[in-house]
């Protein structure tokens, strides 16, 4: 539920999310705010940051190879003298875009399948849900790896593989939501007043099913960024010259004992971003799930 006011507002179209109420609740959930601030910082850094940098991410400078962090190179340089700070910022563009693309793809496809399955019901619903149970029972990293390996090592294929594996979670979520909302008294009331299935879908199902899906998506953003980095690390995602966080660490691994900064900074960037999304997701879950308020 987006807010306690959502239930009685029967057939009146309204905003999907009650922003004022959300802001009020956010103030009472400090960790979610910390997460939000962290995410905003990441966005600022990766969008505006590179504008102010004197270095391009792929600018080679063989005279400054593997230089430790300094006033010029904040995060040091790599084995061909590229500025690691610049590469971390550009890598953030890649990683965060991967996260949003994958979650959007999986979220949309999964939500639509789940919603339809819940509405149609019957044998089709049973088959779809059994299929999703099977997919959910296979460890996600293993399935993603197998898929990405079969598709061939590239960033694009890794993204597709991660998205495919994430779909079942959304199918389950949105089906469950659809089934619950379909039976709710206010939906029956709206139907009595002559609302069409489409109107019910738009006004009630979308409004009430969306918050938990957004929560899931926020938590998934962190998980997806971690997964993409892991795939790149074992050579299945972005390929090394690319300034992607996981790919950078996979090269930096060879320099771990002598040039700590090379792997430390890209890894910290992953950690920071993932913590941000997870805190925000946890906070949003507490806000949207009335049962968890006590905790």
């Amino acid at each position: 539920m987006a807010s306690p006011t959502s239930a009685p507002a029967a057939a009146v179209p309204r905003a999907w999310i009650d922003w004022g109420y959300l802001a009020y609740r956010l103030r009472r959930s400090p960790l979610a705010v910390v997460g939000l601030v962290m995410i905003l910082l990441v966005f600022l850094a990766i969008t505006l940051g590179p504008q102010f940098l004197p270095f391009e991410p792929n600018m080679v400078n063989l005279r400054a190879r593997l230089a430790p962090p300094s006033a010029v190179h904040w995060f040091g340089t790599d084995e061909v003298g590229r500025d690691i700070f610049a590469r971390v910022l550009y890598g953030g563009r890649i990683s965060v875009s991967i996260g949003f693309f994958v979650v959007f793809l999986a979220g949309t496809i999964g939500t639509v399948i789940g919603g339809l399955s819940g509405v149609v019901g019957g044998r089709i619903d049973t088959i779809v849900m059994r299929l999703m149970d099977v997919l959910l029972s296979v460890p996600s990293l293993v399935l993603t790896m197998a898929l990405a390996a079969a598709l061939g090592p590239s960033l694009w294929n890794a993204m597709l593989a991660i998205a495919l594996v994430r779909i079942p979670a959304y199918v389950r979520l949105s089906r469950g939501q659809t089934l619950t909302i379909r039976e709710a008294a206010y939906v029956k009331a709206a139907r009595t007043f002559g609302a069409s299935p489409w109107q019910i879908l738009r006004w009630h199902v979308a409004a009430n099913a969306l918050p938990p899906i957004i929560v899931q998506a926020t938590l998934d953003l962190g998980a997806t960024i971690l997964m993409a980095a892991a795939l790149s690390f074992i050579g299945l995602g972005a390929q090394p010259p690319a300034a992607e966080w996981g790919a950078m660490i996979s090269v930096a691994r060879n320099y771990i004992l002598d040039q700590w900064w090379y792997s430390a900074f890209p890894g910290s960037a992953i950690l920071f971003t993932a913590i941000g999304f997870n805190l925000l997701g946890d906070g949003l879950r507490d806000l949207t799930d009335p049962k968890q308020k006590v905790r």
């Binding site: 149970d133 390996a149 050579g235 004992l257």
Partner: protein
């Protein structure tokens, strides 16, 4: 609903998973770009050899027939032949499996040993600094790229402090214990080989800590939530009113009850650790299934990758089934677990 019913239903689901996973891996191995027969024969092999390989692998048959043979082989425990090592995949996996299980069990023990006390403290002192600290640890755990943490740990404890070895399963100068179970620690104990035991233990510490760290938070969070449920129960208040000390009530009454629902989560954690081991093993050059599958991926060795996927998926489902049964046995009030 009884024990038997649950087993029957779960075995039915296990069968579905077998069919599903075999279909998925079969489909994936047919998605590979290029000709698998050519891949096996090598670039310079004559067309005749390639044709022969295609025939022995039945790649010239219709798809359904290939799938039928694939499933028949699976049921016979035949996962195909690894292109990279030239040995049967099932044999390779059997050889690498104990190393992975040893690592996973050690990591799980670490996660429980640290996670349970943290979770209890977090629940008892709810909303106090310790609670916030534990929740922060939990979020950090699930947000940490395990492969990166492994690198940092190697840098710190091996590179700088020289306390522990940075990779491998046993010192190169130490002979591995005689193969009995495949678990070095167990085998060394059985053989009474103290040197091998110490070396294996020292090699196990860093990878197990790295792998377990992610799950410390998961365990702590679960225990916290279950403990909060128990601490609100009437029997806790009664016990306190009856004069029992707080410590005694928390550890003697609430904790055992909180552990029961947590068993499920521990089972899930075991499954997660099993495939989380893939990354940890790669970083620590741990000779387990994870290192095997990553090497296989890098050399496009599909029979090996698919064999691994199947084995781990089954292990995952099987562990969850066992955990549900344990859950059922621990709490007689629960009669249906879906």
């Amino acid at each position: 609903m009884s024990f038997l019913n649950v087993i029957r239903r779960r075995l039915g689901f296990l069968f579905l998973v077998v069919v599903g996973v075999s279909l998925i891996t079969f489909a994936i191995s047919h998605m590979i770009p290029g000709d698998p027969a050519r891949l096996i024969a090598g670039e310079r092999a004559s067309d005749q050899i390639v044709a022969h390989i295609r025939e022995t692998l039945r790649l010239d048959r219709p798809l359904w027939e290939q799938y039928a043979h694939y499933v028949r082989d699976l049921l016979h425990g035949d996962l195909g032949t690894s292109i990279r090592t030239g040995r049967p995949v099932s044999g390779d996996i059997t050889a690498f499996f104990p190393a992975t299980i040893e690592l996973v069990v050690a990591a799980l023990l670490f996660a429980i040993a640290v996670g349970v006390p943290l979770g209890v403290m977090s629940a008892v002192w709810r909303d106090r600094p310790i609670d916030h600290l534990v929740r922060t640890i939990a979020v950090t755990g699930i947000s940490t790229p395990a492969f990166w943490l492994g690198l940092l740990v190697i840098l710190c404890f091996y590179g700088r402090l020289h306390w522990l070895p940075g990779g491998g399963r046993i010192d190169q100068m130490v002979a591995p214990p005689p193969l009995i179970t495949g678990f070095y620690l167990v085998d060394a104990l059985l053989a009474g080989d103290g040197v091998a035991f110490a070396s294996a233990l020292r090699h196990l510490i860093l990878p197990a800590l790295t792998l377990g760290f992610v799950h410390v938070g998961v365990v702590a969070r679960q225990i916290r939530s279950a403990m909060l449920d128990q601490l609100n129960e009437d029997y806790v208040r009664t016990a306190r009113a009856g004069g029992l000390s707080r410590l005694r009530v928390v550890l003697g009454h609430a904790l055992p009850n909180a552990l029961i629902p947590s068993v499920t989560v521990l089972g899930l954690a075991f499954g997660d650790l099993l495939y989380g081991a893939v990354l940890t093993e790669t970083v620590f050059a741990w000779p387990g299934m994870g290192s095997y599958v990553v090497a296989s991926i890098q050399s496009l060795d599909f029979p090996a990758v698919m064999g691994f996927t199947i084995v781990v998926s089954f292990a995952y489902v099987f562990v969850n089934l066992s955990v549900d049964l344990i859950y059922l046995a621990l709490d007689p009030r629960i009669t249906d677990i879906g």
